[in-house]
């Protein structure tokens, strides 16, 4: 992944999570991954378009998703209902949008598509021919893996 794209995603994740969930946001070490990936239980997707194509995937366990959605709504959710799902997708949307905004300031025109969310056990995301950057973030509610796969339109 192009070096210039990395920081905007890392910073956006950190800033938004800190603002929305309070303190205690820790960044794990970045790394690269290829091949299909087993999802932890809940996956929110935001598409990227423009001079690049790709997507950002937010991967977390159901427990973490419930805890985060509860915190963001100021009430305890016991199942990930429509409201819970909308909350997680909004989180994904905010992080991606802020990254896209930062990238724009750097001169890269990205656009994002409305987010989608998938839940289920034993789900696997298969990307053909794609390498992804993994940004692990650890919050009080658990771990979120932000998986960014983006490539230039050649």
């Amino acid at each position: 992944m192009r070096v210039e794209y990395i920081n905007p995603f890392v910073e956006a994740a950190f800033d938004i999570l800190k603002e929305v969930l309070g303190d205690d946001v820790q960044r794990g070490e970045l790394y690269l991954k290829s091949t299909s990936k087993a999802v932890m239980g809940v996956a929110a997707f935001v598409g990227l378009a423009g001079n690049v194509e790709g997507r950002v995937l937010f991967d977390m366990s159901m427990e973490t998703a419930l805890a985060i959605a509860s915190e963001m709504n100021g009430e305890t959710l016991t199942t990930l209902d429509d409201l819970g799902k909308a909350t997680i997708t909004e989180l994904a949307n905010m992080i991606t949008a802020q990254a896209v905004t930062k990238l724009h300031d750097l001169g890269f025109t990205f656009d994002l598509t409305p987010p989608a969310i998938f839940t289920g056990e034993n789900m696997e995301i298969t990307d053909n021919e794609v390498e992804a950057l993994i940004v692990p973030v650890i919050v009080k509610q658990g771990k979120i893996e932000i998986n960014v796969a983006v490539r230039e339109r050649t």
Partner: protein
């Protein structure tokens, strides 16, 4: 999102959402996220505003505005939505009612996007995550 301020007691101070006649300002909320609609509803109703309608995309937003008109004082408009995005919807609403007060609410904060929306005629632009204080401030700025 938890509100950070205590609700002011209604007896001590008039809620900002009510005009001089005691009548609540009416708002149409356009956003494809159930969570955001709930957030904005909570912030505005707690301050006395009345939510008269919601829509999940730009097209529905335009139609609802036309239906509600003239009993709608302002609109909060998301940008990234399916079917018709917020900027196009803004344009169309202004075509229909040149005095419409539309406030953009978006996670995208790109400078040129903000400028574009304001140039087309949006009254204000709020970047998410939403903060109760910021939302109320900007809304009141726009409707007065």
């Amino acid at each position: 999102m938890k509100t950070k301020m205590d609700f002011p007691s209604i007896n001590e101070r008039k809620p900002e959402g009510q005009g001089d006649g005691g009548q609540a300002y009416k708002v149409l909320i356009v956003d494809d996220s159930m969570f955001v609609k709930k957030q904005i509803t909570q912030i505005l109703s707690s301050e006395g505003f009345e939510v008269v309608g919601t829509a999940g995309d730009g097209l529905e937003g335009l139609e609802k505005y036309k239906e509600l008109y003239p009993d709608v004082d302002f609109v909060t408009m998301d940008i990234t939505m399916p079917k018709m995005d917020g900027i196009s919807s803004l344009e169309k609403i202004l075509e229909f009612d040149k005095d419409a007060k539309v406030i953009m609410v978006s996670a995208l904060g790109k400078q040129d996007l903000v400028k574009k929306a304001l140039l087309i005629g949006a009254k204000n632009y709020i970047v998410k995550p939403l903060d109760r204080v910021k939302v109320l401030e900007r809304v009141l700025q726009s409707i007065k």
